[in-house]
């Protein structure tokens, strides 16, 4: 893991992320919303990996921090300004505090007891946000901005339509579209904000991985007892990791709300936490690139597979003779469209059974087989970075 050169990795990663709209366009994923999601959930997964990948503490409560981040940000949009900076700052602070509180309590236990405690916290947050806390969260509908909101820092809005989120005047939903080799390319401001933050977040995570702090966290995972008898107080280490990953989640929540100013309670459900876990494990827990990769794969499934209907299938197999076309459509039909979660479930099983180290292990195996002479980061980055 320490073999390849971090600088090369960082540069390749940055290039891949920044050219995302071009690279992903042929896969039908080159539109702003999905690109933003890739980046945002990439941040979330990178953060979660600091906790789970390094210390091995399996938290089912990170969706709660995502939600806290989103709610804080939308409140900033409502009260202060549509500039995303104050919202992001508040989101990181709030989710950090929330993580500190929850971590302080839950980290008194380890193993599955810790998992269930975090799950309990997340479910409580979700239930309350959906019902009793409606004055703060707007319950089922989700917290949204309105024309009548105060926004004391912004000039008065006379246009009659809702203002857009912006970064010092650059509006998040501004997109520059162009056609290149028959592909529709969309370069979106919001995506680039997310992308830059993702790169920064990734850099921070590399630094943490490579630091003595990161070393201690890895030691927690392999033998917590030895660490205690070596004079290390493990609790502040795990708590710090928990809070850092909670802050990453809060930041991701803030970005979700910045790209689309709505915060829904479903964001806090345990199944959302579960899907964060799945992203990290799918990509490869404890690796640097893996979580980003896993986040991309899952979001791609959710966005693209769920939208393939029979018409699209018929389009694909149009070149086949009639009965074969029908046959192919019949075969594939259960796995796409409304069956997308079936495919996702099957993919998890296959990955876990055959590639316990996640996609990164797969990449490494391919790497070993084909390119022994070309060692290093270039190979690890072969798989699309997002």
């Amino acid at each position: 893991m320490l073999k390849y050169n971090d600088k090369v990795l960082m540069i390749v990663f940055a290039i891949l992320v920044l050219t995302g709209p071009v690279i992903l366009a042929p896969f039908g994923a080159g539109y702003p919303d999905l690109l933003q999601r890739f980046a945002i959930f990439g941040i979330l997964a990178v953060g979660y990996n600091i906790l789970f990948g390094l210390t091995g503490y399996l938290s089912f409560g990170h969706a709660a921090f995502l939600g806290v981040g989103s709610y804080s940000t939308v409140w900033m949009f409502k009260l202060l300004t549509m500039n995303i900076i104050p919202g992001m700052i508040l989101a990181i602070i709030m989710s950090g505090l929330f993580a500190l509180l929850i971590g302080f309590i839950t980290l008194r236990r380890s193993g599955i007891y810790f998992s269930i405690l975090t799950l309990a916290f997340a479910q409580m947050s979700y239930s309350l946000a959906y019902s009793v806390l409606t004055p703060i969260t707007n319950g089922e509908t989700g917290l949204q901005i309105r024309l009548a909101d105060a926004r004391i820092l912004d000039p008065k809005n006379e246009s009659g339509s809702l203002p857009s989120t912006n970064l010092f005047g650059f509006e998040m939903n501004d997109t520059w579209r162009t056609t290149f080799m028959g592909m529709d390319l969309q370069f979106n401001v919001g995506f680039y904000v997310c992308a830059v933050i993702l790169i920064a977040a990734f850099y921070v995570s590399i630094r943490i991985f490579r630091s003595p702090f990161g070393l201690m966290l890895r030691a927690v995972k392999t033998n917590q007892n030895r660490l205690m008898y070596t004079g290390i107080n493990t609790k502040p280490y795990t708590l710090a990791a928990f809070v850092i990953s909670g802050m990453y989640a809060g930041l991701a929540g803030a970005l979700l709300a910045s790209m689309d100013p709505l915060a829904g309670a479903e964001r806090m459900q345990w199944t959302e936490s579960g899907s964060i876990v799945l992203m990290v494990i799918l990509g490869g827990a404890g690796t640097l690139l893996g979580p980003v990769l896993g986040a991309g794969v899952i979001k791609y499934f959710e966005a693209i597979f769920s939208r393939i209907n029979d018409n699209v299938l018929h389009g694909w197999f149009d070149f086949l003779p009639g009965f074969l076309e029908t046959f192919m459509v019949w075969i594939i039909h259960p796995f796409v469209g409304k069956g997308w979660s079936l495919t996702l479930g099957a993919v998890f099983m296959i990955i876990v059974i055959f590639l316990p180290g996640g996609l990164m292990e797969g990449a490494n195996r391919i790497n070993k087989r084909f390119g022994k002479q070309k060692r290093g980061s270039a190979d690890n980055a072969k798989a699309p970075a997002e």
């Binding site: 399996l58 079936l342 876990v352």
Partner: protein
């Protein structure tokens, strides 16, 4: 007073469902050391055994009634189940009792299902980290529920209890309450008794049979028993089948209370994990105790008097209790040291 007595009954009833599901889960964990996120799916599959049984029993001969028309103005189809056609009243009786017949159907089906699952998938995960087990069984749960959805749709499918066991009885009179003060549905009482019998049966099986003794020894120390030359693996496989069957019949019997749908497994999954953890991973009596305790607390927290004091308490009571128990008793109510703390 009668209100409290009613909630006690409700608590017992919910508790028996929780305890039954948790029993299977903790059995699997205790014997095999596997964290099985597909357990909820087993419960759901059990419930759909009842659906399938009813579908089989009501396979119908279709005849046309030329005098009546359907929504398109064509002759109305009259469906007569074959069993009624062939056996008359006996057939009608069979359809009426389809839930109970489904139990006979579910036990072998779910047992085999469990064994196939263990041999085909779980077996390869004994020595893998819990996170891997969780991911794999979670994937399996999704696959199972999506398959059910593809065949039966997303809508709940109602199942009725046999006529003689539906309706409610005035149970309060037996306990000295006024007439009609405490009325409780027959089927829920049946469920409670059924749960008690199954739980008792499993305990007796583990307590008094050689098989059970070996399995208990294996739960305590797997390697030692292996050294004695006892084929513990095969017994554990059967144990998995048993756990699946127990969970399955719990699902079958629950269908008249809760019309089954494809995602009911996920809905119960978190809950029964909480039950098992509160009871202490791998502890059978713990799971039963925690199941009844949480069922009871859930019932009482939904009383208006309680909700008036703490609004929304019924939303979070289960999690709140889980948290308090785990913080006060690190390994749950009756957990063993060292279990699942890595």
């Amino acid at each position: 007073m009668d209100a409290i007595f009613l909630q006690v009954l409700n608590g017992l009833d919910k508790g028996s469902a929780y305890a039954l599901i948790a029993l299977g889960l903790t059995l699997i964990f205790g014997t095999l050391g596997v964290v099985n996120f597909a357990h909820g799916a087993l419960f759901m599959l059990g419930a759909f055994c009842a659906v399938i049984m009813r579908k089989i029993l009501t396979l119908s001969h279709v005849s046309l009634d030329p005098e009546k028309t359907n929504f398109l103005g064509k002759p109305l189809e009259i469906r007569t189940p074959y069993v009624e056609l062939w056996w008359g009243d006996v057939g009608t009786w069979m359809i009426d009792y389809s839930v109970l017949i489904a139990i006979l159907f579910a036990i072998p089906v779910m047992g085999v299902m469990g064994i196939v699952m263990e041999r085909g998938l779980i077996k390869h995960f004994y020595h893998r980290p819990h996170a891997d087990q969780i991911l794999m069984t979670f994937g399996l749960a999704i696959v199972l529920q999506e398959i059910i959805k593809a065949f039966f749709g997303a809508n709940p499918i109602p199942q009725s209890a046999p006529d003689s066991m539906s309706g409610a009885m005035d149970i309060g009179v037996l306990f000295g309450f006024a007439e009609y003060a405490v009325i409780y549905p027959y089927w829920r009482l049946v469920y409670f008794v059924f749960a008690a019998v199954v739980i008792g049966g499993v305990f007796a099986f583990l307590r008094f049979t050689t098989f059970g003794m070996i399995v208990r020894a294996g739960m305590a120390d797997r390697e030692t028993v292996g050294l004695l030359g006892i084929d513990i693996d095969r017994r554990f496989t059967i144990m998995f089948g048993l756990a699946a069957a127990v969970t399955g019949v719990a699902g079958v019997m629950y269908t008249p209370i809760l019309p089954p749908n494809y995602h009911m497994g996920m809905d119960f999954l978190v809950l029964c994990f909480v039950v098992v953890v509160v009871g202490g991973m791998g502890s059978l009596p713990g799971a039963i105790l925690a199941g009844f305790m949480l069922g009871m607390l859930e019932s009482f927290s939904s009383m208006n008097e309680v909700k008036a004091i703490i609004p929304g308490i019924d939303q979070i009571i289960i999690y709140l209790v889980a948290m308090i128990v785990l913080l006060v008793r690190p390994r749950g109510l009756m957990g063993k040291a060292g279990m699942m703390e890595d």
